[in-house]
């Protein structure tokens, strides 16, 4: 297993004040913002660090862009067997969504602010479009199943209180968070937003991006399987034939599977 330590640079230029705060000092330091899916990839580690005003709470949100997602629904057929019985389309929901904070988000951030900045599963649920649905009860049930599916796939996560802060001086503090980056997260560009929270309101926010891409043999094989399928199939067969002949020659006795 090879882990990449990823730190995110949120430069001064990308910082902008929100909610009328004029003395914001939210900053971050980082090494790089690229995760490569290579042959030995088994996920990575993502870390965000920086400086903020003393006394503020911090919320870090990492998401992929909203996308259309189609999922099969399972149901009981004939009262006995579970099988796929239909398909639901989910709109206005990110494929990846992770929230990290210094304290329980419900305690530090007003509901109206969470709504405004898209922070929390309940906010996502109100924004989401799910179809086809028979009624509103179905909507709650299938959104809850959607969250379960995403959490099980390690694509949605809201771990508690993992952003830590340390006072630097009377006016500023440093913050840090570190979390696993799941191997299930597909290639793409992910948005990182850090919110500084004071008195239940977002005082300021900063943005950065994480790029996840396939490289090397993984990219070559993945591209070939999709775009050059005949060649890919022939190479797979040739490799198996060679392996079979090779082992047959080495053992030089009858045997083998059939």
């Amino acid at each position: 297993m090879r882990n990449f330590i990823l730190a995110l640079t949120i430069t001064a230029a990308s910082i902008f004040a929100a909610s009328g705060s004029a003395s914001a000092t939210l900053t971050a330091n980082a090494n790089h913002s690229l995760i490569n899916i290579d042959f030995m990839y088994h996920g990575s580690t993502v870390s965000v660090r920086g400086e903020a005003d003393s006394g503020v709470d911090l919320v870090v949100k990492i998401t992929s862009p909203e996308a259309h997602q189609a999922l099969k629904t399972k149901g009981k057929v004939g009262g006995v067997l579970w099988m796929n019985v239909g398909q639901l389309e989910f709109e206005h929901l990110p494929g990846y969504y992770a929230l990290y904070a210094t304290k329980d988000i419900d305690r530090i951030l007003d509901a109206s602010e969470r709504e405004k900045y898209g922070i929390g599963y309940d906010v996502l649920g109100r924004k989401a479009e799910i179809r086809p649905l028979a009624n509103e009860e179905d909507r709650a049930k299938w959104f809850s199943e959607f969250i379960k599916f995403k959490e099980e796939s390690n694509l949605y996560a809201t771990p508690k209180n993992i952003v830590t802060t340390a006072s630097k001086d009377s006016a500023s503090a440093s913050y840090f968070m570190k979390s696993d980056w799941p191997f299930q997260a597909p290639p793409g560009i992910y948005d990182v937003t850090v919110y500084a929270v004071k008195n239940g309101k977002v005082a300021e926010e900063a943005h950065s991006k994480v790029t996840v891409e396939q490289v090397g043999i993984v990219k070559t094989l993945s591209d070939m399987a999709k775009n050059n399928a005949a060649t890919y199939g022939l190479i797979s067969i040739a490799a198996a034939l060679l392996a079979g002949f090779g082992v047959g020659l080495i053992f030089k006795k009858d045997g083998g599977a059939h």
Binding site: M40, A230, S236, L241, G248, D254, G256, H258
Partner: protein, 306 residues
């Protein structure tokens, strides 16, 4: 040590597929049956999507059956004429099977169909083997092997089929349609289940085509090899579900395991081994049945696969 699988889009501990290949290869070498029917469900249990598991298993069976067919060819144990008729059917069956997989994937029912096919085939074969071996163990005198006579009288229906032809190597006469139809059915199963079909082909050749046992094994391997080559190509070309890296890991284990198993197999008692295999087969069947009957942890699943 983990490797990322570019088509299955998942990361696996390298020792799991190699160990799985080794274990299934060992079983196939020990018992003289194909490992495919065990490999695909075990891959699914490892978290590999069903369609990728079945297609990739076909790819690794190419390696295992090449090794075995090569050995039997050197011993003159392959009835090429019968093998080619079986292949004609197998190719047509493979085409039909891959198209069926495509249609079922679009409908979202592929997992269900693969699992139900396994339940029926494994349950039937496992129960038959268990009962037969158990009876033989209880009544050893009754378990004397009976040498099958070539060209023994056939039923009226088989004799009445057109295009009767003599298969010299096997010493039998049949309608050419018979091996074509049998090969076709096995080809369909090979595509859906990701198996070579050896575990179905062998009893069919012995009991229906009445071929001598030594020719059955070599000819079955020959047919399975070419059927799996076709299925692998079609799955890669049409469904993009063959994971090359996973296949290499599996065949690393299975080709060596099969050879080691065939060495041990000669030293161990047959009926006990058969009972052990039938218990393994039935255990896999029970696991699949539980998956179908018990309420799943998640009511949503990825649509369309890869």
């Amino acid at each position: 040590m983990y490797l990322y699988l570019p088509v299955a889009l998942t990361s696996v501990n390298i020792f799991l597929p190699v160990g799985l290949g080794l274990a299934v290869g060992l079983l196939s070498g020990l018992f003289g049956v194909g490992g495919g029917f065990l490999m695909t469900p075990l891959l699914i249990m490892l978290g590999i999507p069903s369609a990728v598991a079945a297609a990739t298993d076909s790819n690794q069976i190419v390696a295992a059956s090449t090794s075995g067919a090569f050995a039997h060819w050197r011993m003159g144990n392959i009835d090429f004429k019968m093998g080619i008729y079986l292949l004609v059917g197998g190719f047509i069956g493979g085409l039909v099977g891959v198209e069926a997989v495509k249609a079922l994937r679009a409908m979202g029912n592929i997992d269900f169909v693969i699992k139900m096919t396994y339940v029926l085939m494994l349950g039937g074969v496992g129960a038959y083997m268990f009962i037969e071996s158990f009876q033989n163990l209880r009544n050893k005198d009754a378990a004397k092997p009976v040498e099958r006579k070539a060209d023994a009288p056939k039923s009226g229906f088989l004799a009445s089929l057109p295009f009767q032809t003599h298969f010299e190597k096997s010493g039998v006469t049949h309608s050419a349609l018979l091996p074509v139809i049998v090969g076709g059915l096995v080809g369909i199963l090979a595509a859906i289940m990701g198996v070579g079909g050896g575990f179905l082909m062998v009893p069919v050749m012995v009991y229906m085509l009445r071929m001598p046992m030594h020719v059955v094994v070599g000819t079955s391997l020959f047919q399975v090899l070419f059927t799996c080559i076709e299925v692998t190509f079609l799955q890669a070309w049409s469904n993009h579900t063959v994971d090359f890296i996973l296949a290499v890991l599996l065949l690393l284990g299975s080709t060596i395991g099969a050879q080691v198993g065939s060495v041990f197999g000669r030293k161990l008692k047959g009926e006990q081994l058969k009972i052990l295999l039938s218990i393994i087969v039935l255990a896999v069947t029970v696991k699949i049945v539980f998956d179908l009957v018990l309420t799943p942890g998640l009511l949503l699943a990825q649509a369309g696969g890869h």
